[in-house]
């Protein structure tokens, strides 16, 4: 990590790195001049009063993700187009909750936007404090980098600029304990006041099927239904970095994870974010999925990362992965909500899709979607476009919140079809089954959940797709190998896949699931499947 320390910073805000000695503090207010301390912590903080400066942000020119002029070898224009939105709004009035390991809320580029007393620490020894600050420099730098990308203050003569540089910050360090209850608490805390919940974390990117526990799902549902006075909390999550989690020794090919293998992001109500590099193309670690909503810039194959806030009041220029892309989309959403606070969580997803910039236009993965849109399993609907999103949000007529969302459930199909072994016969081994949706009152789909059960001796062999009545194909699962014993990637037992790919389509008609065994040596059966369709 390359850190840039700004001369003169100490004059603005003194952050002292000192040994901790007071044994911790669980008070909800900071003791005199000491925000957080503890005998096992490496860091503590001393906040001093300083004059508020105004002036250009000196690192703004390095922030190619905001305005890509071709610096560092990038392609001009492959950015968030954030500057085009700023004449309309900088995110004022919108609270963004950053859920992460810790956030240095005293950072001089973050503290001007901090909502005093609204953050929470879950960390043992600091639990209940409103200062979820880092405890060790080696482990706790993630959330500070994330927060800067969302809302680092503009025009304060220091450092960087966030996408929504006048939005308000609250921080929850729920990853510091990683208890289910703390995660659920953070995802529902102050849901009438917080608009966006920013999450650059998730399941391991290892090709395994990882479910989301009931506590997580219940928290998300609660926020969608009751958050923001019924307009719904907006949950933004990273799609994952599993583009090459393992190399097959037999073929020397990367094994690719899929966002649909992560139970946190394969459900309705989550804005799932992918990454593109400074040329607007998919980086080597990119993880595809039908559940992807939009992408945002991040690191690529060259060591060009993203410039943002770092610990001890400094900055870094190499922040990377979908962790960097996700807060950019959270920032875009904050701009949208600032421009039109009446938007529901459903509106936000649709506007993001409709306003996205179609990057990498020659990629063969772009597929026609309803309403003249295009979808790509690597890119969702494209790269978030702040200018277009704010413009569309400003005149948007709401489709409603959770209360008006319609759902249609298909009957459970139990084809119980044998799945011939792939590879060995040298020809297609695909098996298909169809079901018909009739009498469903959804003319415009917003999300589809597909539940799939197969008994197979190696489920990682299976490629799974579903085709809609409009002949649009969602690629739900790719074949891969995983580390571990037996059915190492995990069995498909009523596994939920999610798809954004059918946005705007009608629900009624024949849907077809196709399962293909892609590798020799294992067989099984296509047991059952069903659909749950959401829309209006």
């Amino acid at each position: 990590m390359r850190a840039v320390v700004l001369p003169g910073l100490i004059a603005l805000l003194a952050i002292a790195l000192v040994g901790c000695s007071n044994g911790g503090n669980s008070s909800s207010t900071a003791p005199s001049n000491t925000i957080s301390a503890g005998k096992n912590c490496d860091l503590s903080y001393t906040l001093t009063q300083s004059a508020v400066l105004t002036g250009p942000d000196p690192l703004l020119g390095d922030q190619w993700h905001l305005t890509n002029t071709g610096q560092n070898g990038g392609t001009p224009g492959e950015d968030l187009r954030a500057a085009g939105a700023w004449p309309v709004t900088r995110g004022s009035g919108i609270r963004v909750a950053v859920i992460d390991d810790a956030v240095e809320v005293t950072h001089p580029d973050l503290s001007p936007n901090l909502v005093e007393g609204a953050s929470r620490s879950y960390r043992n020894g600091n639990r209940g404090s409103v200062w979820p600050v880092p405890c060790t420099k080696a482990e706790d730098d993630h959330g500070t980098a994330v927060a800067g990308l969302v809302l680092a203050r503009d025009g304060n003569a220091i450092g960087v600029v966030g996408v929504a540089s006048r939005a308000s910050l609250v921080a929850y360090d729920a990853l510091s304990t990683s208890y289910d209850i703390d995660i659920a608490d953070a995802l529902t805390r102050d849901s009438q006041l917080n608009s966006v919940y920013q999450n650059s974390w998730g399941s391991p990117d290892d090709g395994h099927l990882h479910t989301a526990d009931t506590a997580f799902n219940a928290a998300i549902t609660s926020g969608l239904v009751t958050g923001r006075q019924g307009k719904g909390s907006v949950y933004v999550f990273a799609g994952g970095n599993g583009g090459c989690y393992l190399i097959d020794s037999a073929t020397q090919k990367c094994q690719v994870d899929n966002s649909n293998f992560d139970g946190y992001v394969n459900q309705r109500g989550i804005v799932t974010v992918c990454a593109v590099d400074n040329k607007g193309v998919s980086p080597w670690y990119a993880e595809p999925g039908a559940t992807l909503t939009v992408c945002a810039p991040s690191s690529g194959s060259s060591p060009v990362g993203v410039t943002t806030t770092a610990l001890s009041g400094t900055y870094e220029s190499t922040f990377s992965g979908t962790s960097a892309s996700t807060p950019m989309v959270s920032g875009v959403i904050a701009l949208m909500l600032s421009a039109n606070p009446a938007l529901t969580w459903r509106d936000v997803r649709i506007i993001l899709a409709r306003s996205a910039h179609r990057n990498d236009p020659t990629d063969t993965g772009w597929l026609p979607a309803a309403g003249g849109l295009q979808f790509n399993h690597k890119y969702g609907f494209g790269v978030a476009n702040a200018q277009a999103a704010v413009a569309l949000a400003s005149t948007w007529s709401s489709v409603g919140g959770s209360a008006s969302m319609k759902t249609c459930d298909s009957p459970l199909r139990t084809p119980n079809l044998p799945l011939p072994d792939g590879g060995a016969v040298g020809k297609s081994t695909s098996v298909s089954d169809s079901l018909s949706i009739v009498g469903c009152d959804i003319s415009s789909i917003e999300f589809v959940e597909i539940f799939f059960t197969a008994s197979h001796t190696y489920s990682g062999d299976l490629k799974v797709t579903v085709t809609s009545p409009a002949a649009a194909v969602s690629q739900l699962a790719n074949a891969r190998i995983c580390k571990g014993s037996g059915d190492a990637c995990g069995a498909y037992s009523n596994w939920r896949f999610g798809s954004m790919r059918h946005l705007g389509e009608a629900a009624n008609g024949n849907w077809t699931m196709t399962v293909t065994d892609m590798s020799a040596g294992d067989t099984g059966r296509f047991d059952a499947w069903s659909l749950k369709i959401y829309g209006r």
Partner: protein, 211 residues
């Protein structure tokens, strides 16, 4: 899908802890003795994986079912994730330490038997789920009510089931008192079987990946 590409080797960040943690996790899932020392070194990384993409130079190579010696493991415990019964396997090589005091993150997992007796009440066994991810029991049960209720009604309902309500997260989501360790798993399964609630699950600790 197998990508026809090789990862770059000039990534900006080196992430040795991730590779160590993954190796350790795999070994811990498969064997008993012989990995304690490695796990002791890697325990920090296991508890909190390093963020960002994997260091390309450290991506492991493996083949289907042949990457490591396999020791078959049978489920030892069950928990209820809503209506789904999910299997768990006791990892005899590790324990999870949940002190109420100060240790910062990253020191949850320890080699089994490394905690002194005085702190034994702060220790949970480590259980691995279907994906091999370690889970610990820091105490408490997360209950989802069948319908929204005000606080008094929810506390009464939970009390009728023989449990103590601690904290409401929403009008349906509650934290119920439970001990560190397997006692919370037992209580969660009892509350699930009770039928008064939509679901009851242990308040799990498990590592989440910063992306």
């Amino acid at each position: 899908m197998a990508a026809d590409r090789t990862p770059p080797h000039d990534a900006a960040r080196m992430r040795a802890p991730v590779a160590i943690a993954r190796l350790a996790a795999v070994f811990a899932a498969l064997t008993g003795a012989g990995v304690v020392a490695l796990l002791a070194v890697a325990s920090t990384a296991l508890a909190q994986p390093a963020p960002g993409p994997l260091d390309p130079s450290r991506i492991e190579t493996a083949s289907k079912r042949s990457s490591v010696a396999i020791k078959s493991v049978q489920p030892t415990h069950v928990w209820h994730d809503g209506t789904s019964a999910r299997m768990l396997t006791l990892d005899e090589t590790l324990e999870a330490h949940f002190p109420g005091g100060l240790p910062p993150q990253g020191h949850v997992l320890r080699p089994a038997g490394s905690t002194d007796r005085a702190a034994a009440a702060q220790v949970s066994p480590v259980l691995r789920d279907e994906s091999g991810r370690p889970r610990g029991l820091p105490g408490g049960v997360v209950v989802v009510l069948k319908t929204p209720m005000d606080e008094a009604a929810a506390r009464a309902l939970i009390g009728q089931a023989g449990a103590v309500a601690l904290q409401a997260l929403s009008d349906r989501l509650w934290l119920v008192q439970g001990p560190i360790g397997l006692g919370s798993l037992t209580l969660a399964n009892q509350l699930q079987a009770d039928g008064r609630f939509e679901s009851a699950q242990p308040n799990w600790w498990m590592p989440r990946t910063r992306k």
